[in-house]
C-alpha cells in the first residue's frame, strides 16, 4: 500500500516572527523556512509504517511556490520515495488545500493520508479533517500512536480528556500530534540521494480543483503584550501580594 504525506513550508519554529507595522502581515523576507514540525512527524510515521513492512511506498506532497521543493527534498532525504509538488503562487486556504489533496489521493489511491495536525503559521488545524470529509474517509486526528493491522488502523489520539483510541478502516486520514514520534535526523549521504529521487511538478490548474470561498485577512497586528510584573524576594512577600489581590 501507499502512504501519501502532506507537508507545508512554514517559518521555522525557532524564529521569533515580526508583525509588519503597516498591518499587512508577518515579515517573511530572509526568514528561515522549514517543514512544518507536525508534518515532519507525519513523514517520520509514514516511514516507520513502511519500515515495519506495512506499506510499500511513501509519497510526499506539497502545495505552494517553487521554493517549497526544499521541504520536499528534506522529506525525500528522510526516506520518502517520491514527491509531488502542486505549483502555485497563490495563498491556498485549508478547504482548497484539502480539495487538492483529495485530487492527489484520487490519482494515487493511498491507503493512508498522513498530515500534521496543524501548521504553525496559520494554526488552523483543519486540513486533515476536511480531507476526511471530502473523501468520505474516516479520520483519526491528533494521533500519538498508530498501529496498522491489515485494512484497519488503531489510533490513539491526544484529546482534552486524556488518550482516546479509535479503530478506523483504511483508507483513512491521520493527523500527527507531537508525541507520535521523534523525527530522524537527515544524514548528508541521504541528502545527496534525495536529489536523484523523483519529484513531479503539477500545475494547480491541471488538477481541475475548484477554489473554495476564502476567508479574507483584513489586517495583522501584534498581540496585546503582557508586561513583566515584579520580582519578589521571598515567599512571605509573594503570599502577602496574592492575599492582597484576594487570590489565595
Amino acid at each position: 500500500m501507499k502512504i501519501l504525506v502532506g507537508v507545508k513550508r512554514v517559518v521555522d519554529f525557532n524564529v521569533r516572527i515580526q508583525v509588519k507595522p503597516d498591518g499587512s502581515g508577518v515579515a517573511t523576507d530572509g526568514v528561515k523556512m522549514s517543514m512544518n514540525p507536525f508534518d515532519e512527524i507525519a513523514v517520520e510515521e509514514a516511514l516507520r509504517i513502511k519500515e515495519a513492512g506495512n506499506a510499500e511506498e511513501v509519497i510526499v506532497a506539497t502545495i505552494g511556490p517553487k521554493a517549497c521543493q526544499e521541504q520536499l527534498r528534506t522529506a525525500l532525504a528522510m526516506g520518502a520515495d517520491r514527491a509531488i509538488h502542486v505549483l502555485t503562487d497563490e495563498e491556498i486556504q485549508p478547504l482548497t488545500g484539502a480539495r487538492i489533496l483529495k485530487a492527489l489521493a484520487d490519482k494515487e489511491s493511498p491507503k493512508i493520508v498522513m498530515l500534521g495536525k496543524q501548521a504553525i503559521d496559520d494554526d488552523n488545524n483543519q486540513t486533515a479533517q476536511m480531507l476526511g470529509a471530502l473523501s468520505h474517509w474516516p479520520q483519526a486526528t491528533f494521533a500519538s500512536k498508530v498501529k496498522i493491522d491489515g485494512d484497519t488502523a488503531t489510533v490513539t489520539r491526544e484529546v482534552d480528556a486524556g488518550l482516546e483510541t479509535l479503530s478506523v478502516d483504511l483508507p483513512a486520514v491521520i493527523s500527527a500530534d507531537l508525541r507520535l514520534n521523534e523525527p530522524r535526523y537527515v544524514k548528508l549521504p541521504d541528502i545527496m540521494k534525495a536529489k536523484r529521487k523523483p519529484l513531479e511538478v503539477i500545475e494547480i490548474a491541471d488538477l481541475g480543483v475548484e477554489v473554495a470561498p476564502a476567508v479574507k485577512v483584513l489586517k495583522t497586528v501584534a498581540p496585546a503584550k503582557r508586561e513583566a510584573g515584579i520580582k519578589v524576594e521571598s515567599v512571605t512577600e509573594l503570599v502577602t501580594a496574592l492575599k492582597e489581590k484576594g487570590l489565595i
Binding site: G162, V221, V232
Partner: protein, 312 residues
C-alpha cells in the same frame, strides 16, 4: 432570520464548561437567536444543563446510539443536516470542536474560522496565528459562517437561563468505518478541570520526576487548583498529556496561574497569556517566564512550595 447553532461538548452526563464559553461568543454576534444542540445517546440531563445557559433560546436534543461517544465522522453529518436553519455554526476550540468542525465545514463547502477570540461583527473576527504571536482580523465570505471559539478568550455565560428543549430526529446515514475503542483519562481525580479552574498550579521540567510532581498536586489541592504542566514535563513522562498547557495543549485563562520550574517556551506562554495573575518560580533568573509573570521568585521550587504550604 439569522441564528447561530452552538455544538455542545459533553461526556454523556455533564456539559463541558467550554460550551457556555462558546455561547458567550455566539451572543456577541448579535443575531436573532442562539441555539445549542446536544448530540448524545441519552442526553436529556445534558440538555437540561444547556437550557440553563443564559442567552440560549432553544436546546435541540438529538439522540442516537451512535452519539454515545463524540466521534466526528458520526456527529458531522447530523450537524450538516441541522445547519440549514442557521447562519452560523460554532463549537468550542477544544480537541472536540477542532476534530469535528472542519469535517462539517468541508462537507458544506464552507471555509472555517478557527479559534475566534473576538467578534467584530457577524462576519468579522479576530483570531491568533503563529502561536498567538500575531492576531489577524478576518472576514468570512457571504453565506454560512462556521467556526471554533477560543474558550480562554471568553468568560462562561451565566447560568440563569430557561431555554426550551426540543427533541429532534435527524435522519441521515452514518458511516460504519470508525469504531470508538476507549478513553483513558489522565486521572486528575477530583481536582478542578484545567480549562475551567479558577486557579492552576503547573510544573515543568524543573520538577524533575513523576515522583516529585506530588508536591505540585499537593499544593494544588491545598489551593483547590487544577494541575497543569509544560510540554517538557509531559514529554519526560512526569505527568499525563491531558495536563499540558500551551499552544498544542490546553489554552487556559485562570484567575491565578502558578508556574513552578517552567522556563516559559513561547508555545507554553501562548497557553497562559489570558491568565489573570501569573506567578513564576524558577531557579534560573533569566527564564523567559519572568517576562510575563506578575510575580516572579528566583528560588528553588521545592523550598518555595514547602514554605507556601505552611503559609496557606
Amino acid at each position: 432570520m439569522s441564528k447561530v447553532l452552538v455544538i455542545a461538548e459533553h461526556d454523556g452526563s455533564n456539559l463541558n464548561g467550554s460550551t457556555a464559553r462558546a455561547v458567550s461568543c455566539a451572543s456577541d454576534l448579535g443575531l436573532d437567536a442562539v441555539d445549542v444542540v446536544v448530540l448524545a445517546a441519552d442526553g436529556s440531563a445534558v440538555a437540561e444543563q444547556a437550557a440553563k445557559i443564559t442567552g440560549v433560546s432553544t436546546v435541540l436534543l438529538v439522540q442516537n446510539a451512535a452519539n454515545e461517544n463524540a466521534v466526528a465522522a458520526f456527529l458531522a453529518p447530523q450537524i450538516e443536516a441541522l445547519a440549514v436553519d442557521y447562519s452560523h455554526v460554532l463549537a468550542p476550540s477544544t480537541t472536540f470542536g477542532k476534530d469535528l468542525i472542519p469535517r462539517v465545514a468541508a462537507h458544506l463547502g464552507r471555509p472555517q474560522i478557527s479559534d475566534i477570540m473576538r467578534v467584530e461583527s457577524a462576519t468579522v473576527f479576530d483570531r491568533p496565528v503563529y502561536a498567538g504571536n500575531a492576531v489577524v482580523t478576518v472576514e468570512a465570505p457571504e453565506g454560512l459562517v462556521i467556526g471554533t471559539v477560543r474558550t480562554a478568550s471568553y468568560k462562561a455565560a451565566s447560568n440563569d437561563g430557561s431555554a426550551s428543549v426540543e427533541t429532534r430526529s435527524v435522519d441521515v446515514a452514518l458511516p460504519s468505518h470508525t469504531r470508538f475503542v476507549g478513553l483513558e483519562s489522565g486521572g486528575g481525580g477530583d481536582r478542578p478541570d484545567l480549562q475551567a479552574a479558577v486557579k492552576v498550579v503547573s510544573g515543568g521540567r524543573g520538577v524533575g520526576s513523576e515522583e516529585n510532581f506530588k508536591v505540585i498536586y499537593s499544593l494544588a489541592d491545598k489551593l483547590g487548583a487544577g494541575v497543569g504542566a509544560s510540554r517538557a514535563a509531559v514529554d519526560a513522562g512526569f505527568i499525563p498529556n491531558d495536563h499540558q498547557v500551551g499552544q498544542t495543549g490546553k489554552i487556559i485563562a485562570p484567575d491565578l496561574y502558578m508556574a513552578f520550574g517552567i522556563s516559559g517556551a513561547i508555545q507554553h506562554l501562548a497557553g497562559i497569556k489570558d491568565a489573570g495573575t501569573i506567578v513564576a518560580v524558577n531557579k534560573d533568573a533569566d527564564a523567559p517566564i519572568f517576562e510575563v509573570a506578575d510575580y516572579g521568585l528566583v528560588a528553588d521550587l521545592f523550598e518555595v512550595i514547602e514554605e507556601l504550604e505552611k503559609a496557606l
